[in-house]
Point group: C2
Chain length 163, copies 2
DNA sequence: TCTGCAAATGTTATAATGTTTCAAACTTTG
DNA sequence: CAAAGTTTGAAACATTATAACATTTGCAGA
């Protein structure tokens, strides 16, 4: 399965999940990082859908399956997953999505549908280049780059009242 | 004063502030929007420096000058200022900076120094174009675009321990 | 001028998000 | 096994943001 399905279209989402988990296991093995049960479960919850999940949503789901966790448990798992590039934080939503390019070095651009909530992660070279060149022109040394585009996905255009 | 000074370099910052206030007054007059005392004061506080200010920082400053305000007061003023493009919200910091291009139609790129905290706002056409073209390629209709680059400004490079 | 509406502000309470701290359990390594 | 480091548990707390409703202010029209 080399091609990744577009999240907007119906697709066998279970394949996304198992791919993500398999990738995560391989990445952690390679880097001697411990993908513990909690961390793996949090990753799986995040991959439930292509909609970003808040830390407290994760917390609630863990709670509802008997595992009573406190906020630090979730935030620690998230920190781990962020550190190894397995999830991304969407600042404009205070929420987290699975990384669609785990293991690949990339800079992400997120297309966030304000109607259905689905997020598409892109790695667009032209965007990265333009940003890095703008930073360079100001003698600024970039470290983290956040590019988040909120709008309407193809599916939701036309099916929504455009405020 | 057509050229705007770079925030990193020492500059007559009072000029930034008065320019911003004058611009804001003109913009509000043109649009029949009421730049009330609270709103103007919040704008002025935000323009105190080129470092983003949190809502509760603003609240504290209002409090320390005798005007006892509650959170909604500040958030409402911020909503107004955002609506008329007089300030920007920096999602990755949950904070607000004055808009350096008020009144001009623009898409902003923010260079945020993680050391000194100063933010430089740019309007880079190449970045906007690249992003819009990426969105178009996915048939995505962009509305809000967030581009925030965290790193080291020219002044802070070299003067910091690079973790 | 008065009156009534809409916009703006005040006030209290609460929701949502994120962190600090310290203790206990587990894992790895010598 | 023992020591050291990492991970998790648990309680409290800090920060950021909103809801709901009362009050005041500014302004247009009678």
């Amino acid at each position: 399965m080399p091609e990744r399905a577009l999240p907007y279209r119906p697709h066998n989402h279970q394949a996304c999940v198992s791919q993500a988990l398999t990738d995560a296991q391989a990445i952690c093995r390679d880097q001697n990082a411990r993908l513990t049960p909690i961390r793996e479960r949090v990753l799986e919850l995040i991959w439930q859908s292509h909609k970003p999940l808040g830390a407290y949503d994760i917390l609630a789901q863990l709670g509802s399956e008997g595992h009573s966790a406190a906020p630090p448990t979730v935030y620690r798992a998230l920190d781990f997953l962020l550190q190894y590039g397995l999830v991304h934080r969407i600042s404009s939503l205070n929420a987290f999505v699975g990384c669609a390019h785990a293991g690949e070095h990339h800079r992400s651009t997120f297309l966030i549908c304000r109607d259905c909530g689905i997020v598409l992660e892109l790695a667009v070279d032209a965007v990265t280049k333009a940003i890095e060149s703008a930073a360079k022109a100001e003698a600024f040394l970039p470290e983290d780059i956040t590019v988040e585009i909120s709008g309407l996905c193809p599916t939701c255009q036309g099916s929504t009242t455009h405020a």
